[in-house]
Symmetry: C2
Subunit: 461 residues, 2 copies
């Protein structure tokens, strides 16, 4: 049974006013990466982080240029024999608009009923502060038995455009054993959890052409292939009666769920009635033989995101249209290969296309899935840290969404990431009135400190 360290609790308690004020100083800099008028704020925010990292006990910190917004890099070298972690976070935030929906100004942080309200309160200034202040705590209490590097980017909200090139260029500098990230959520304070999976993505556009112009459906109907009907035929053939995707080879590389994974699903709280009510459906639907949490977290999916063609106005227009389009996406899971699936889909669509229409498929973009094995030693250490602060082991949850940069780290730096997220579903990230409860802020700092109080210590015994 992992217990919390009283010194950590005391240090956090004694410094919590300062921690909050330091977070507020960061929040007051409107580092909106998608709005060019905020470019000076981006630079100011990066410099502010650099100074704060030095004050927090790092040996060295600097602002490093990229093709886009700068990266803040810092390090604390304790002993070359110790393992090294790389802390990743981002200092850019989403735009605050629509401004009129905020109860207090987005960049003037305010605590109401124990909750911090501001853009970036959670995503990702608040959560990155959990990492940095947890690290400070460990340093000041001399608990650190690993080397720590910190990398904060300024383009996460605009697709981490420059970070892959930065990582490739600075491989040696960024060398580490694991990456720590606080940029995800947990189920609830009652059900702490860590994200162990992120799905990948493939996204295509299909264009089906029949006749070279819209035809009179009376004069031609019955004798000429209709691109709308043919598009529907092609899409309908993409899944079988069991809800499985029929693209040849689609499941070949999928990591099947283990007994332990299935047991974890059973332990995860899930209220189907509430889930259905929130999205307004009478019944759920997915691949046979899997729980909803597995369908979204551990199994690939196939969805049309859009479809269009022909007449969409009021009433009737009797045409046999020339063109039909669809936006098609799959979410991938480990170890599906984005490039392989991208091509397999194109080949399959072509094989389904009848000769009386012309079918084009364009691959728009994609992302690699990520899976963190929950039996990694460092994962076990993180679990113990959660146990110390929350009083229970975190659940391992695979998220249906994608954070492409995590898979990029694995591919480029060859390192697994541990996703220690302290946010809640109610934090309204990306929305007006983004917030982060003080309770989460403090337990986040303490959990990170407890992590450092354990990680690397065994090796010195």
């Amino acid at each position: 049974m992992s217990k919390s360290n009283p010194k950590i609790n005391q240090y956090v308690e004694e410094n919590k006013e300062r921690f909050l004020e330091e977070l507020f100083e960061l929040i007051r800099i409107p580092s909106v990466s998608s709005q060019s008028q905020h470019k000076p704020d981006m630079d100011r925010c990066a410099e502010h982080w650099r100074d704060l990292l030095l004050k927090s006990g790092m040996d060295r910190a600097e602002v490093m240029p990229t093709k886009g917004n700068s990266v803040v890099y810092a390090e604390k070298k304790v002993n070359p024999k110790y393992p090294t972690v790389l802390v990743y976070g981002h200092y850019d935030v989403m735009p605050p608009e629509p401004l009129e929906l905020w109860k207090s100004p987005a960049f003037e942080p305010e605590v109401r009923n124990g909750i911090i309200y501001a853009r970036g309160a959670d995503d990702d200034k608040g959560q990155t502060m959990c990492q940095v202040k947890g690290l400070e705590t460990a340093i000041k209490l001399d608990l650190l038995r690993c080397n720590v590097k910190v990398m904060l980017e300024g383009e996460e909200e605009i697709g981490s455009t420059s970070l892959e090139a930065f990582c490739k260029k600075n491989k040696k500098l960024l060398k580490s054993d694991y990456i720590l990230v606080s940029d995800t959520g947990m189920l609830s304070m009652k059900h702490p959890s860590m994200t162990t999976g992120l799905r990948g993505l493939c996204y295509w556009q299909i264009e089906v052409t029949g006749p070279n112009h819209d035809l009179h459906s009376g004069i031609y109907g019955g004798a000429v292939g209709n691109p709308l009907n043919e598009l529907c035929n092609i899409i309908a053939k993409m899944r079988d009666e069991q809800g499985r995707v029929t693209i040849p080879g689609f499941y070949d590389d999928v990591v099947e769920l283990t007994e332990a994974d299935r047991a974890m699903t059973e332990k995860t709280p899930f209220n189907e009635r509430k889930y259905k009510k929130e999205i307004g459906v009478k019944a759920l639907y997915g691949e046979e033989g899997y729980h909803t949490l597995e369908r979204t977290g551990s199994r690939p999916s196939f969805d049309l995101c859009g479809i269009w063609g022909g007449y969409q106005g009021e009433g009737a227009k009797t045409i046999l249209p020339s063109k039909a389009y669809a936006k098609v996406s799959t979410r991938l899971v480990a170890n599906q290969d984005e490039k392989k699936i991208a091509q397999a889909f194109i080949d399959y669509v072509k094989s389904l296309a009848p000769e009386h229409v012309e079918v084009k498929v364009e691959y728009l973009h994609g992302g690699t899935p990520y899976l963190c094995p929950s039996d990694l030693p460092i994962y076990k250490v993180a679990e113990e840290a959660y146990q110390a602060t929350f009083g229970k082991k975190p659940l391992a949850v695979r998220s249906g969404g994608s954070i492409p940069i995590i898979a990029t780290f694995e591919r480029v730096l060859g390192v697994k990431s541990i996703l220690m997220g302290f946010g809640l579903g109610s934090d309204a990230i990306h929305s007006p009135n983004e917030n982060f409860p003080l309770e989460n802020f403090h337990i986040g700092i303490r959990t990170v400190a407890e992590f450092y109080a354990r990680y690397g210590h065994d090796e010195q015994k």
Copy 2:
């Protein structure tokens, strides 16, 4: 072998300048039914037709009110023992826009290279003049052995809105044995033809609802039914591998093609290479076992006219959309019942709808198919009239399009229509530079006169 009557040829030759000037007077009245500023022109045009019908030898002619534009009614009673035909035509025309594409003004008729150019030159002032001047010729040459009624409406181009009520109210006045209509085309001057079939129509809109708002395709994808995918599934199930519609009972009432019908198809000129080239397709597609002309004329069809839902913009948006829609149409053939098919489709779609989405079907509108048996005695008389003027029997062609009022006549008045159309595919009806060759105008008048020179004559022998 049916021969032409030299007196008819002589009368038409001697009067053709006047006939043309009479047509021009009609054309100069811009009777555009869809544009309210032309309401006075509608009245003027109806009155002009009334006067012209009297001048053309009718006993009586009048303008009769309806809920919309007036109907011009005229009659020539020869002998109560003789059979009676009702001539149907329309005096309204399509709007002339876009004006800038006309080489000469739409309502100032001009003959260039033997072709009349003007709005209404063919549809339907020119063609109705073929009927009326052919009738005048027969009257003046004392060839008429039947009674003739004429009914010209002013709302054909806006859906014949008031005509069904007019027919119901005036059943006795309109009593006849057959209806003659010149408002269709023929294959070519070399291949004269009569239209013996018109397809009917059913038109629906389907709405599929999944979740009550667009969802994040990563967080929900794989666990929630996607209305776009489900719509595609439903549509794909509507036709089998042989291109046959799978709606239960769909083909139950379809009049199957006879050996004679099949032989007529073989005789009808059809250039598949040219047909494909004109619409830009590599291959044709339709119900197995039928010729293209049969697929469009004698077999029902099933086509999406529109489909939409979710994201249609540039690039990618990763959503699981809430709504999907489709506009769906079938063309019907004799003796399919519009109402029965309308309901059968709704029932079938509901039976295909899975419980995880909500599916609504709205019936928008429809029309009854029409078939004129080519063994009707009056049809044989018309064939002989064509033989006299064109030197060959007309081909019987079933058109894929719909003229709903023809089926309405059969339903309300209980009378079959004979479609003696003299237009060509190149006449550009409804388009800029609508035209009608003088040759077609004259042969149309002569053919109608030859019809009267035969119809009813046997009964007096």
